[in-house]
């Protein structure tokens, strides 16, 4: 599917995800979200958690889906794998997507499966030509089976491959151009990777194809040290979004106009009001930049 036709890009089925703040859905928050007078813009789920046949997870997600737009975020496709994709897993993802008709479907520029073992983390890929064409063919395959566009998320990384010959932003741009996939810009990942690899996050965002971004992720990170005792950041999703990440976020939104923005919090999960406070912060920034013609801004950013 080189240069995906518009029909693929627009046939996204379910209720559109609005350019507002959303939250990663946790089972413990379902009741509070449904009864809250603050109506969050959308919820996002990890696809793999809803690949069982039935039971309480599907009952809860059904109730959420009846009341809110939904985004489905895969963590297990292993799009960056050297081997082929697992057809069974793509079929499972399709079942979740067909059942809930989410407004957005996304996956990671990473790999997690090799030789039938699952490594339960988002492992980095080398940025070289061989990997680029493999990732593109994997994404084309997934979009074909799902019958819709997916978004690809930029990774957080701690190491780099010496064999890499392409910058991360170029690598991601070329994937989007070749496959017609959209992009999910994780600004915490940008900040974490920039710190870990000693570059400026703003320079990365300058190079990033912002006009292709359809969703943003924000999350917290944890400090650690590397072999030389220098600061390294862990993409931990266990605390509020860092002020510097909020700053980068505002810079991006000022340039692109409002984009659906997800707050991720996956470890040491707090009570719903803590997560809601983060979402409301994103809403405030989105509100400031609403009412401007975002589509022309996005065209300009794409330019």
């Amino acid at each position: 599917m080189p240069n995906a036709p518009r029909s693929i890009q627009s046939s996204n089925g379910g209720a559109a995800v609005p350019p507002r703040a959303g939250a990663g859905l946790k089972p413990a928050h379902v009741e509070a979200i449904l009864s809250d007078s603050y109506r969050i813009g959308f919820l996002e789920v990890h696809a793999e958690n809803y690949m069982g046949d039935g039971g309480p997870p599907h009952r809860a997600l059904g109730a959420i889906r009846d009341n809110f737009p939904l985004s489905v975020h895969g963590v297990g496709l292993s799009i960056g794998s050297e081997g082929g994709l697992d057809g069974t897993h793509i079929a499972r993802l399709k079942k979740v997507v067909d059942r809930y008709e989410p407004g957005l479907v996304s996956e990671h520029l990473a790999w997690s499966t090799h030789d039938n073992s699952y490594y339960n983390d988002l492992l980095p890929v080398p940025y070289d030509e061989a990997t680029l064409s493999r990732v593109c063919s994997h994404i084309e395959h997934v979009q074909e089976v799902l019958g819709r566009q997916i978004l690809l998320e930029n990774p957080s990384t701690y190491v780099r491959y010496e064999q890499s010959t392409i910058s991360e932003t170029d690598f991601i741009r070329q994937i989007a151009v070749r496959t017609g996939c959209g992009l999910l810009l994780d600004i915490n990942n940008v900040f974490v990777s920039a710190t870990n690899h000693h570059y400026e996050p703003l320079a990365y965002l300058e190079d990033f194809p912002l006009g292709m971004v359809q969703e943003i992720h924000l999350a917290g990170h944890a400090p650690d040290v590397d072999d030389e005792g220098d600061l390294i950041l862990i993409d931990s999703h266990d605390r509020p979004v860092d002020d510097r990440v909020w700053g980068l976020y505002e810079t991006v939104i000022a340039r692109t106009g409002p984009i659906p923005t997800l707050i991720e919090w996956d470890t040491d999960i707090p009570e719903w009001p803590v997560l809601r406070k983060e979402a409301m912060m994103a809403d405030r920034i989105l509100d400031v930049h609403a009412g401007t013609d975002s589509s022309s801004r996005r065209r300009a950013a794409l330019g």
Binding site: G52, D53, G54, G83, N120, R160, D226
Partner: protein, 255 residues
Amino acid sequence: MQTTVSNREFTAALSDPEKATPEGIRGPDRKKSAKRFDIYRNNVIYGLIEALGDIFPAVERLVGENFFRDMARLYIRANPPDSPLLFRYGKAMPDFLATFEPVAHLSYLPDIARIELAWLDAFHAADRSCFSAADLAAAPESQLDDLRLTPHPATRVIRSRSAAVSIFSATRSGASLSEIDPTAPEDGLVTRPGHDVQIRRLPPGAATFLQSLIDGARLADAAEAAGLEYAEFDLPAAIRAMLEAGAFNKRGQET
């Protein structure tokens, strides 16, 4: 020519903390990468330990959190997951516990793990209606002996040579174990009649009766098998438990 690193080389080092970081994996400015690579190792192992803790909360409480985490590391090394569906991970835990010397004195522990796996299977099982007392009453009496039933997808029969059902229930609810004789054999039934998973103890013979029905036996044959195992098998009580628990979905057998 730069050193290239394959997925195989990356994962070989990932799974073995004794191995060096693959040549060709670096920090910025060709910085060393041992601690950086360890972040991936830690993410993998920490995530899987958490997943096992979520699957086996009663086992974790019975052995203590620190012991459980150390044991989980050994389990993960010996049984890495083969699927991104982590709620299906841990299937080998009962056998692992049965041969793990440091917990040999807790002879009921493998069965606790079996119950936790059955509980999670039931949690994720497909949604189906339950065969009810009214459904049974609607069956003509002349056909009762020949009645066959389709099990509800959540239904699991537990048979233990220890008091695993009582220990499981008490542990999950935080109750005391002091009243339980761990050596008293117990049978149990895991079902999901409404929204939530339930577990109940079964009277003697009922496990054989229900398992026979699940395996496709006629009602009369299932009752006979239970009677052979336990002479005073109480058929009405077993049927009551079966209906209350919602163990079956409908009359007839799904082909």
